[in-house]
């Protein structure tokens, strides 16, 4: 109910992503203001080992994952354009997907929502991130998806959790 006061939306892909048998990649655009605030949190004090505090942390949130195939597992990758290879941030296990997608369920078929921390994958490439103003999120199936299997992600957001 209560809003998490120190978290802030940084960016979004603003589109539905249909997952398939191949890796799907989506570009998440970051807003300049929150991105600058994130970059500014990397002060000398915040990153010093011998001092308390830490820089802001980044998370991706996959909103409203819906579909009819809850048995497949997907790996989620994040890549900063201009950086090295994508880093894996976690896996999506979609247990309960069919029920969560049913419009008649308690939450009106809002689907599943999953969150992954991406700070470690992104912070080595802070200069590239500031230049690009976006990150790429890749979602790759670990198993087989049949022709009638359907899994969609309504939106991918990036949030910043302030350490202050």
């Amino acid at each position: 109910m209560a809003e998490t006061l120190n978290s802030e939306l940084v960016g979004s892909n603003d589109q539905v992503v249909a997952l398939g048998a191949q890796t799907v990649e989506s570009e998440v655009k970051l807003a300049p203001g929150p991105l600058a605030a994130y970059a500014a949190s990397y002060t000398a004090d915040a990153v010093a080992r011998d001092k308390p505090g830490e820089p802001d942390r980044l998370f991706i949130k996959l909103h409203h994952i819906r579909g009819n195939q809850g048995a497949c597992v997907f790996d989620v990758y994040v890549n900063v354009p201009g950086a090295a290879a994508p880093g894996m941030v976690g896996s999506l296990a979609l247990f309960g997907l069919e029920y969560a997608s049913d419009a008649g369920n308690e939450h009106g078929g809002s689907g599943l929502t999953k969150t992954f921390e991406i700070t470690e994958e992104v912070d080595p490439y802070l200069p590239e991130l500031k230049t690009a103003g976006k990150i790429l999120v890749g979602i790759s199936p670990r198993g087989m998806l049949g022709p009638n299997d359907r899994v969609t992600v309504d939106k991918i957001d990036v949030y910043r959790l302030s350490a202050r």
Partner: protein, 252 residues
């Protein structure tokens, strides 16, 4: 009801406390209006259709509009905590205020139309049954029937649905507004008959509104009901409504 109390308590302690403050202020303003003005001139009922001349109907519209807005503020603002949290969390900091305003405008539009419709419907009911109490009983009967249907359960579940809102550009503005529209549409579908009840009986308007408010809070923040027909409620509702019609017929 426990869910509603927990939600209200969380609202009071969290950043959404202004919703409760708005609700309280609107309840006080409504009570003041009712005490200062002849109730029937504000709350509709048969007086709009039988007693007042045609010009008089239009001249009281501003009071009606003010009262409807207060009614919306009092009864609906505490129901919006979940929706507004969803809007705030999915909006960039720079446009959070704008997104909330657009959502609220979207939410109010269908409700204002619905309230005028309910106002007219209560007049028609009272005119047809020639008794405020019979109109109230028919409305309560119909509300019980509606409460027992699958559609009502689906409407409540629709109220719990959260969309994925775009973050950038005109699509974000439009989505905030349409989310308000959709939420209000589900809300109207879920509670229109409970909202009709206060319009049918001017004397008990405030108490019926408080009752409807409690019911709506309980439904919004409690566990949504299963989607099935509740025969006992439907049966009771039919008996109450038919009894009221028979009573009105015999009394008339």
């Amino acid at each position: 009801m426990r869910g509603a109390l927990a939600a209200v308590s969380a609202m009071a302690r969290g950043p959404l406390w202004p919703l409760l403050a708005i609700s309280g202020a609107c309840w006080v303003a409504m009570a003041t209006m009712i005490l200062d003005s002849p109730l029937v001139r504000i709350c509709g009922g048969p007086v709009h259709w039988e007693t007042l001349p045609a010009d008089g109907r239009w001249s009281i519209l501003p009071s009606q509009l003010v009262f409807d807005l207060l009614m919306l503020g009092a009864m609906m603002s505490p129901l919006l905590a979940h929706n507004l949290t969803c809007v705030f969390r999915q909006s960039l900091a720079a446009r959070k205020g704008r997104a909330a305003v657009l959502f609220i405008l979207g939410y109010m539009s269908p409700w204002l139309v619905a309230l005028f419709g309910l106002w007219a419907l209560s007049g028609l009911l009272a005119q047809a049954l020639r008794s405020d109490l019979a109109a109230l009983a028919v409305t309560l009967g119909a509300a019980l029937v509606w409460q027992g249907t699958k559609l009502k359960a689906l409407a409540i579940r629709g109220c719990h649905r959260t969309p994925a809102l775009p973050a950038f550009g005109p699509r974000a503005e439009l989505a905030s507004f349409t989310y308000g529209l959709r939420s209000a549409a589900w809300c109207v579908a879920a509670c229109w008959l409970w909202m009709l009840a206060p319009f049918t009986w001017a004397v008990g308007h405030l108490w019926l509104m408080i009752g409807a408010f409690g019911l709506m809070l309980g439904e919004r923040y409690g566990r949504p009901p299963q989607v099935r027909v509740r025969k006992a409620w439907v049966g009771t509702g039919v008996v109450v409504a038919i009894g009221a019609v028979c009573f009105a017929h015999l009394a008339g």
